[in-house]
Symmetry: C2
Subunit: 244 residues, 2 copies
């Protein structure tokens, strides 16, 4: 199999890292790869903040709900949507167009596309990592700590390091649920979902020696209700996003 495809199919979240540091050359390749992601109208509406400061790392780990790997990962990148640059530099703009749902969507997609490329570049160079969306628990505090101007909004971290663990692949939804042809036809989804629930339950059962057997629909329901994060919408509107 093609090496790149193999890498793409073997994605796992890596949360434990060896002591080996990530060289500046590797970081530069990761950032350059991120920058070569596709971007809407060539806006490049994102900023990546490398978090080196240990105090800031601890705060982020804490705000994300105690995710220690944010402290221990050799490389931590904070991906932000960025419409501040647009407001400051774009010429003759319609300011309402900058603060509407479309622009928020553009910046969020741009940031995610760039992050995925950064992630794959890291993996190609032997690193492993994990995305941490949990930092959205405290978007306002993060904005203060990192001096984010209005219209710059924190989305998630990418933590990277040389892997010191090898977890199994996590089973994904059946392809037929996620991949439709020409129409959103979900008539078979219920049945497929039941099979997937069993797959996920078995996966956790094995991984936890029977301590946990959550179905997918049960687990996701819990996660969604535990972390509603209404602060995201509140803060993002305060910094003039999502006005229309």
């Amino acid at each position: 199999m093609d090496k790149t495809i193999e890498l793409l199919l073997n994605h796992k979240s890596i949360r434990k890292y060896t002591d080996q540091q990530v060289s500046q050359e590797t970081i530069d390749i990761i950032i350059s790869s991120a920058q070569m992601a596709p971007t809407s109208s060539h806006f490049q509406a994102y900023t990546i903040i490398e978090v080196k400061d240990l105090k800031k790392r601890r705060l982020l780990a804490d705000w994300a709900g105690g995710q220690k790997w944010v402290e221990s990962a050799p490389l931590v990148l904070l991906f932000c949507g960025d419409l501040f640059r647009a407001e400051k530099y774009y010429e003759d703009i319609d300011k309402d167009a900058l603060t509407n749902t479309e622009s928020y969507t553009v910046a969020t997609i741009d940031a995610a596309l760039a992050a995925q490329k950064a992630f794959i570049a890291g993996q190609a160079l032997g690193l492993g990592g994990v995305c941490v969306g949990g930092i959205r628990n405290e978007v306002e505090k993060i904005s203060e700590e990192f001096g984010l101007p209005d219209l710059v909004f924190p989305l998630f971290l990418l933590c990277l390091g040389y892997p010191d663990q090898d977890p199994g692949l996590k089973p994904r939804l059946p392809q037929e649920i996620v991949h439709k042809i020409d129409f959103y036809d979900d008539r078979k989804d219920q049945e497929l979902m039941e099979a997937y629930n069993k797959t996920v339950s078995d996966y956790y059962d094995k991984r936890t020696d029977g301590k946990e057997k959550d179905r997918w629909t049960e687990r996701c329901g819990k996660y969604l209700s535990e972390k509603p994060r209404y602060n995201v919408g509140e803060h993002f509107r305060k910094i003039r996003l999502l006005k229309k």
Copy 2:
């Protein structure tokens, strides 16, 4: 250089394709790669609709403002954020948590991460392509045409095919503007931006034999003001997204 890194750094938008079709095996690898993207809380909050129907292709090309490659690309994938599955299947959920800005953000990021992996998988298998966000001109019509239930929202297309052109690499923002350390320090950005404006102007000058010499800040300003897409926010709120 590592082959994967080379591929990541050599990204170009490809809009012209040879007649060679994309095999089902290749499509399956592309979708499987997309599914192995990281996903927030394992929600996998996206759906990919493969657009085979030529009538639908023509509509999309038209709605995107006359982007012919939507008709001619051998493979066209419509990436949607999907919170309908969450509402239908997740157990014991807080429904407000489903329709807030956080959930919209999760689904949009999930869809973009998956799309970027699909894109890279395609490129690794010899395909080239382009993302088409222009379809957001007509999110409501797309929702009707593809039978999208409430809480499923169209984001962009990924058009793929075997390349029949080889455009140059488009210059990205200077790394120092996009990559910050520990703090959003933009004191050098203005100066860097002037240099970048010249780079972009020269790039278009060369590509168009002097017919076009737009600065980046000028070009982006035009694009932003020409396509404000207020319909995105309007329609997405109608289908119960972004309520809080």
